[in-house]
Amino acid sequence: MSERRPDLAALLPALFISLCAAVGLGLDSYPQYVIAVAIISMLVGIALVVLVGLARCITLAAGSIMAIGAYASTLAVARLGVPYLVTLALALLAGGAGGWLIAFPGTRFRGHNLAMVTLVFQSVCIILIREATWLTGGAEGIHVPPPQVFGLAVTSDWSFLILIGGATALMTLLVTIMVRGPFGKNLQAVASNEIAAEAFGVSVRGYLTAAFVVSSAAVAFAGALLAPRVRILDPDSFGVLESIFMLAYPIVGGMHSVWGGLLGGGGLRILPELLRPVADYQELFFAALVILVMMFFPGGLAELIRRGAGLLGPHRERRLKSVAPPRALLEPHAVPVESGHRENELLVVECVDKHFEALHAVDAASLRVPAGAIHGLIGPNGAGKTSLFNIISGFLAADRGRVTLAGTSLLERRPRDRIGLGMTRTFQNVAIFGELSCLDNVIIGLGRNAVMHAVGVSLDHFADGADTQRARQQALAALDSVGLGGHPRSRAGSLSLGDQRRLEIARAIVSNPRLILLDEPVSGVADAEAEELRHLLLRINAERGVAMLVVEHNIPFVARLCRSLSVMGAGRVVAEGEPAHVISLPIVRQLYFGEQVTA
């Protein structure tokens, strides 16, 4: 393996926060107070970048989550005598639980329903805190005892600053590592295309729930740090208006990076201190600022600074060496073959039926794809090709029938389980993850995307450990073999359509599947480019021994790519065999051209 290159950039936000705290130590007590609360808001901003920026969920519950953390810590200290530092961990747990509680009903929906669920959660939380007077002191509030850390009471502004700066830097480091690693990348994949994410083993609900849990845990942690600083804790400091202003942090700062949340949170928390003389206009000013930023600087402060820095010096790309992958990386998946399965048949579709109300979309369709073969599925519009394709890939449930891959039944499995069995797909309307780099797109194609695994690998990513290096090499090799090896760091969304199709192919082959489903691979592509893609597919088939099932309207393309064809008409498979033979069959000509069968 080549030498390690740890992701040092992940350290910078935490270092910046430590630096702010260190500078504050040399100042007066009021600036020390302001810096301490600004640092807490930086953490809130970063936590909201995870949820609002990466997962693209609108949350109006940040205030109540912060209240959960603050009350959990304070009550544990005041009523149970738990040491303050332990209650910080308690706040993390409580916040995570709160996030899960929102996500459980909330991630069934997206958009406005989700936003409304968070608003409901926010209101109910505050009502509960206000009503449970016996526990929380109600609307009057509760006195927060000064925290004891290793036997020392933290009371002065500078000691608070050390405590808050240290704890926040630590939490920021953890969140940054997750955001920059596979966890953050997969979240972005979910936000950019849910169906493609599912097809490559990324569970949409799992990741959205994880985003809520992680983000809420960090916000609650920030709440627990804030509580002793404000001395009297009352529910109205965490109302819906506060939640809305916290939502402004990632928007004003920039939604797509940790730096955005950090700048937005810090900046917007210091602003009211500067606006003291016109404090009454503060909320109006805030709201107007957010709308103006959305209209004129959609990337927020972080984007502005990045562009400003870009003007100063040329952007340097980290060079990536592309090396020939070891032979082992190209071996197909070792999936156990079930007994009673005939060696040569990889995909078997038997008597599959699908009705849409009165329409019999797929009618007892059967087809077989031998291992290593390229098989085409053609038919006029409405013949049921796409329905059958979606049944095989798992996005549509069949009414009846059997679909097996190497003897393993597929029908009762979810789309995201198929990659583990050695089956991947491409999409008719290219479904790449536009915000991510080409390399990251292909790495997601490796399919090792379970939530907990991604969290673990994020640490490995930070240290540039063996898993990360290996994944990168596999992905680079896949990019090389489709001819995109030259720019692994380019944003996938900036590629041409033809290159995006190549990228999809790279993503589909990187896990070394046994079978790739290609959904109209050349629709919308110019003839010359289609020819290049055909050569590419033939070469991949020869090199990697991967079987392909191609649905395509472009008959000349399919005829020259495939070794065998199935033709569908009105839901049934009407003909099968070698391309030249099949196309000349009278029944096929009748399907396409309406010629009468003369028999």
Binding site: H112, V117, V124, I127, V240, L284, V290, M294, F356, L359
Partner: protein
């Protein structure tokens, strides 16, 4: 006992039609533009505030408020669509929804700064002796709010269901590209939808002003109630919005009278959760077209 029940039910219906009117405005905008306008409550609050200005401060005749305010709020909503949201629409829906959240804040803060009072009272339109219907006292004002708001809502549904305008808006929601090809202009239809939404918000404000008075809290109260009513009805169905509003009003009124006032504030959240968990398409979903 029965008389009290009648009174509670009547109060529930009165708030119910107001919620229905608020929900209808949200539904109209959502149906045409697929965006939920989180500033809708603020628009309605603005309408209520305007009726205070006209009726109390300027001493204009009351009927003028009923005519002018919906129009003014409608124009303001259309202007906001034109100046702010049209630009954001190019980004995505997500951005537009967040923008409406902050628009709502900007509007209610603007109001708070101009009139920094707790509550502004607005007199009612009628002050004659009440009717007695089957032992239940119905004030003239209650009758007017229920009748007037219901008529406004029904008129709006008729417009949406049968007019060329409504057809365009529905076409736009079903398939934007297709509607464009058939000669509907996206910008035009979006502006009309926001205008109509604003008119309904303004009407909600004028009708609700004498009932609750005018305060900053009105903004959040109306958007929450309107949204919950809309979800109960199935967010794309105007008729469902009316039934949803009435159900919510009755549930609130009954739980306040027979359980507790804390229950009143929780009941809408409870209903929202129940509907979203068990029947996310709402109780009265629009019949969806054939899916292929």
């Amino acid at each position: 006992m029965l008389g009290q029940l009648g009174f509670v039910v009547l109060a529930g219906i009165k708030f119910g039609v107001l919620y229905a009117l608020a929900a209808l405005g949200l539904v109209v905008v959502h149906k045409a533009t697929k965006t939920v306008n989180f500033a809708h409550g603020a628009f309605a609050m603005l309408g209520a505030f305007a009726s205070f200005l006209m009726v109390v401060s300027w001493q204009w005749p009351y009927w003028a408020a009923y005519v002018a305010i919906p129009l003014v709020i409608g124009l303001a909503a259309a202007a906001i669509e034109l100046v702010i949201l049209r630009r954001l629409r190019q980004a995505d829906m997500f951005t537009v929804v967040i923008a409406t959240v902050f628009l709502g804040i900007a509007i209610s803060e603007g109001f708070r700064l101009t009139y920094n009072t707790e509550l502004l009272a607005v007199p009612s339109l009628f002050s004659g002796p009440p009717f007695i219907l089957a032992g239940v006292i119905v004030t003239r004002d209650t009758a007017w709010v229920i009748g007037g708001a219901l008529l406004t809502a029904l008129a709006c549904i008729a417009l949406f269901g049968y007019g060329r305008l409504g057809r365009g808006m529905r076409a736009m929601a079903a398939n934007m590209r297709g509607a464009q090809l058939c000669g509907y202009s996206v910008d035009g239809v979006y502006m009309l939808a926001w205008f109509l939404g604003g008119v309904l918000a303004g009407a909600t404000g004028v009708f609700i002003a004498p009932v609750t008075g005018v305060s900053v809290d009105l903004s959040i109260a109306i958007i929450t109630a309107g949204f919950v009513a809309g979800v109960i009805g199935g967010f794309d169905s105007p008729r469902g919005a009316i039934v949803g509003g009435l159900l919510l009003g009755l549930a609130e009124s009954l739980s306040a009278a027979y359980v507790s006032s804390a229950m009143k504030s929780c009941i809408s959240f409870l209903l929202l959760f129940l509907v979203l968990m068990w029947r996310p398409q709402g109780l009265f979903p629009e019949r969806s077209g054939r899916r292929v």
